[in-house]
């Protein structure tokens, strides 16, 4: 069980029933999630928003957090088109990941190139997001 090198669809190691094992686990996760969501709903500060004014751009507008990383990247790459191209290539690389990264090893510790690359990319995303937020 330590290393599952085969990734066949009819996995022979499927040996626990979906119910009760997995389904009950999900039931617990579901209610924990609901509790977190409703706690956030009630305790996160309510923003006060002004109505839109097409003739006046407010100072320091920033996109929502999930767009901050690409936004900040476009900001630091001097050529806008080059920045867009890099993002497009990155997007395609992620989309077609299973077709160019075909390692059979599954454990992150056994993927000496892929795991560090992943960590770098994710860290870069987080760093750009923070940079965008605090710049």
């Amino acid at each position: 069980m330590a290393v599952d090198n085969n990734s066949k669809s009819t996995d022979t190691n499927h040996e626990e029933p979906f119910y009760p094992h997995e389904l009950l686990k999900f039931g617990v996760a579901f209610f924990v999630f609901l509790a977190v969501l409703f706690t956030l709903t009630i305790f996160l500060p309510h923003g006060i928003h002004e109505p839109a004014d097409p003739m006046n751009t407010p100072a320091h507008i920033k996109p929502e957090w999930y767009f901050l990383a690409p936004y900040q990247m476009l900001k630091i790459v001097p050529n806008e088109l080059a920045g867009m191209a890099v993002q497009g290539i990155l997007g395609l690389a992620i989309l077609f990941l299973p077709f160019w990264e075909k390692s059979k090893r599954r454990h992150p510790a056994k993927r000496p190139i892929f795991t560090p690359v992943c960590i770098v990319v994710i860290s870069a995303f987080i760093a750009l997001t923070l940079w965008g937020k605090y710049s």
Partner: protein, 222 residues
């Protein structure tokens, strides 16, 4: 329940009519999954959960929302301030959008580090990336709807992005806005995308995603 020895009367009643027990068993107690499935395997299911919450709260918001530049802001204000529990539905929807993105991202990272996208699950990954993209576009279009300063200028800057692309860039900007600047035309355009087109596309891709995961089963832990 679930085909135990003491089946409920309801189950027996259904069984007599369209033999439900076998089908139920096949999908629960007789459906085998890899052992040691951990909590991280809940992220995909939770993404679906929050999507359903978004659909439900979104439909309720639509009952008072008015997609015009003159009325949009006021209608959201009305929902939040006047409609009983309107504040709750509006806030669940807006926080839910952020939560959905976090969950989908977390689910992706889990799959990434578990190398769960390898053959035969390449299409699971690709459909997942489409779902992620659709989630982002849905958030982007929904963000304009309250017609606040932030949403107006967010939409302006966002729709300007393709403008630097050669040849079709300018055309894409104008097509996405429906006008030179972000305007009422943009608002109704985004509204149609946000409430019909994108949720329908997410449902379709999610359906595909789930059918495939049923076929192959989940990739177990290491």
């Amino acid at each position: 329940m679930f085909a135990s020895k003491k089946d409920s009367a309801l189950l027996d009643w259904l069984e007599e009519r369209f033999t439900i027990k076998e089908e139920l068993e096949k999908n629960t107690t007789k459906k085998m999954v890899p052992p040691h499935i951990n909590w991280l395997y809940c992220l995909g299911g939770l993404s679906l959960t929050i999507f359903i919450i978004q659909v439900v709260t979104g439909v309720f918001l639509m009952m008072y929302y008015k997609p015009t530049p003159e009325l949009a802001y006021g209608s959201i204000e009305f929902i939040v301030k006047e409609v009983p529990y309107g504040w709750l539905i509006q806030r669940v929807h807006s926080i839910g959008a952020n939560t959905m993105i976090i969950l989908v991202m977390a689910h992706m990272v889990r799959v990434l580090f578990y190398n769960a996208y390898q053959k035969p699950r390449e299409l699971h990954w690709i459909s997942g990336i489409f779902l992620f993209g659709l989630t982002l576009i849905t958030s982007f279009t929904g963000y304009l709807l309250p017609w606040t300063q932030l949403s107006y200028w967010g939409a302006t800057v966002g729709t300007n992005m393709p403008g630097s692309a050669p040849i079709i860039g300018e055309w894409m900007v104008r097509m996405s806005r429906g006008s030179e600047q972000v305007s009422g035309v943009t608002l109704t355009r985004f509204f149609a995308l946000h409430v019909v087109v994108l949720p329908a596309m997410i449902s379709a891709f999610a359906g595909w995603h789930f059918v495939m995961i049923r076929r192959t089963g989940v990739a177990g832990p290491f």
